[in-house]
């Protein structure tokens, strides 16, 4: 099975993050940039399918030059090769434009299966898998906590607020996964060394036949008008339990009319 995994480089969600003071895009210059965490689960799922059914795993990333670090890291887990879509005109792209570019790149890769994380930790917009399925005219099985591949039939347990739905489709398809689906492997030393030699193809907008004014700020379908820091919460009262901690807690809750 020919599998493409979407990988996004994001600022580390464990550290302070900010929007750029000049253009309100995600500040990447000063951030510690990492693979979007949920994407590691997508890579793991792809590798498991390859191990069971054969095929090839390709990483697809759209992002600035420095995203190369994340691509090499992704490759060190075991995928075969990568495609990096990079072009200065992409800076400031909205989700709609991003989906246009990724769909064009997927068009060159002839994937049976596209796997991605359910959301990114920076935008948390969660729309990309369905946007891509819409553009490509293929099935989407999203929010999977379990995926079964049987020939060309895919069956997923899609997590919902109430429980889960069992959804099924045939390849080609886009699947998005939650972090409950597996436990991603750590790259081995051998994997890290091998990743340095794996092919990474770079594609520009003109390679994909997408015009520069359809993406970036020029082609954006929404804009950030302003951004500001939210005042941090301040600590309130802290008491040490001396046998009356529960009672004091309820006293506070009652004073706030919760009890």
């Amino acid at each position: 099975m020919n599998i493409v995994v979407l990988v996004k480089q994001v600022p580390d969600s464990g550290a302070e993050r900010a929007l750029s003071a000049t253009d309100n895009t995600v500040e990447r210059g000063s951030a510690n940039n990492v693979i979007n965490e949920m994407d590691e689960y997508a890579i793991e799922e792809a590798l498991k399918i390859k191990e069971a059914h054969g095929g090839e795993v390709t990483i697809l990333t759209m992002g600035p030059d420095r995203a190369t670090e994340s691509i090499r890291k992704a490759l060190s887990m075991g995928p075969d090769k990568a495609v990096h879509v990079t072009d200065e005109a992409l800076h400031g792209s909205c989700a709609v434009a991003t989906s246009k570019v990724l769909a064009a790149a997927l068009g060159t890769l002839n994937a049976d299966l596209v796997i991605c994380g359910a959301e990114s930790t920076d935008g948390r917009v969660q729309v990309m898998p369905h946007m891509l399925a819409e553009r490509l005219g293929v099935a989407a099985l999203t929010g999977a906590r379990k995926l079964t591949v049987d020939g060309s039939t895919l069956t997923a347990e899609r997590q919902t607020d109430e429980g889960y739905e069992v959804v099924t489709a045939s390849t080609p398809a886009v699947v998005s996964v939650w972090d409950t689906i597996n436990e991603p492997r750590y790259p081995s030393f051998k994997g890290i060394m091998a990743a340095k030699k794996k092919p990474v193809q770079t594609l520009s907008l003109s390679d994909l036949g997408v015009a520069a004014d359809e993406v970036g700020f020029a082609g954006a379908t929404s804009e950030v008008v302003s951004s500001s820091k939210r005042p941090p919460r301040s600590a309130g009262t802290k008491v040490i339990d001396e046998g009356d901690g529960g009672a004091k807690l309820v006293e506070f809750l009652a004073s706030e009319k919760f009890v």
Partner: protein
């Protein structure tokens, strides 16, 4: 005034969800409110009363197996046709997995902008979003097409404004590409009669300090006494104490209740991302240096296995 389309979020168990009432309330300041109901046969008539109570003047109903038997895509197709026909002032959806997915497909179909996770929507279409673990406030606008905006639950207080809705049945014509993903089964997993996590006005969450799955009864007990929902930190979910759909934080749900109770949760930034905008936060943790105390309005440094049972008794005393 132009219509504002509100895509109704409802569940079999709870009927119209609170986020729908919030959307209807917001929509009234933007134009004439029309609710769009997707579901099996008869879905709209079951919900019409409640939708009317909150100002739904018109209800568009798209019902039947072609809608209900497939994942998301048919709904987006029907919605896109409706948007082209009525030219609404805005389209509002819930900021839920499915709400966002429909919004994404709709945006592509119409080559239109979209904004997700809005906590406010002004009459001029400017949406307010809280991003980066609750640290940053962003104001955004759709600049191409009609504003398609998903609203985060617990953003506004729903207020009733009675209307007598007219129901219009939509003809559902969806193509084969919308029927590629079949929904074979819907399985409800037990959460008792507790409110929905993202919509609850009180959330009681447990973390690693709860120790094991069985001990989560303690968290559930306090939640039930307070009439709240149960949440869990990632550490608790990863350790198998509680199911993932109840996870609060960066890779789980974002909640914004009136009261958030953190039991045995240290308060790592990934957890704070999901609860930082709660109105009041209280915490119980045995580690006095736990970062959760930096944002708690009231914190108890102590053993939750002693503090919580005592609190339970105290609440029962006051309630009787």
């Amino acid at each position: 005034m132009a219509e504002v389309l509100v895509v109704v979020e409802a569940s079999q168990a709870a009927g119209v969800k609170k986020v729908t009432l919030e959307m209807l309330t917001i929509a009234r300041s933007l134009g004439d409110v029309s609710a769009v109901v997707f579901g099996g046969d008869g879905a709209a008539s079951a919900l019409a009363g409640k939708l009317g109570e909150y100002g739904g003047a018109k209800i568009y109903a798209a019902e039947g197996e072609d809608i209900d038997g497939y994942l998301v895509a048919p709904k987006a197709t029907v919605l896109a046709d409706l948007v082209k026909r009525v030219q609404p002032a805005a389209v509002l959806l819930g900021s839920t997995q499915e709400g966002k997915e429909i919004a994404g497909r709709l945006a592509v179909k119409l080559d239109n902008g979209l904004l997700t996770d809005a906590v406010e929507l002004a009459a001029d279409g400017t949406a307010t979003q809280v991003v980066f673990a609750g640290s940053t406030i962003v104001k955004s606008k759709v600049t191409k097409g009609v504003p398609i905006v998903t609203i985060r639950p617990n953003s506004v207080t729903p207020s009733p404004q009675p209307a007598s809705p007219q129901v219009e049945q939509l003809t559902v014509t969806v193509g084969d590409t919308d029927k590629l993903t079949k929904v074979v089964e819907r399985v409800a997993e037990q959460k008792g009669s507790r409110p929905e996590l993202t919509e609850a006005s009180i959330v009681v969450s447990g973390g690693r300090g709860v120790g094991n799955a069985d001990n989560f009864k303690l968290v559930e007990g306090l939640a039930d006494l307070l009439g709240g929902a149960v949440g869990a930190s990632r550490a608790a979910v990863d350790s198998g104490y509680y199911p993932h759909q109840f996870q609060v934080g960066q890779t789980g749900k974002t909640v914004s209740p009136q009261l958030y109770v953190a039991l045995g949760i240290s308060g790592a930034i990934q957890h704070r991302a999901g609860m930082q905008t709660s109105k009041t936060i209280v915490a119980v943790n045995k580690d006095a240096e736990a970062p959760i105390f930096e944002l708690a309005d009231f914190g108890v440094v102590g053993d939750l296995f002693k503090v919580v049972p005592q609190a339970d008794e105290e609440i029962k005393k006051r309630q009787s």
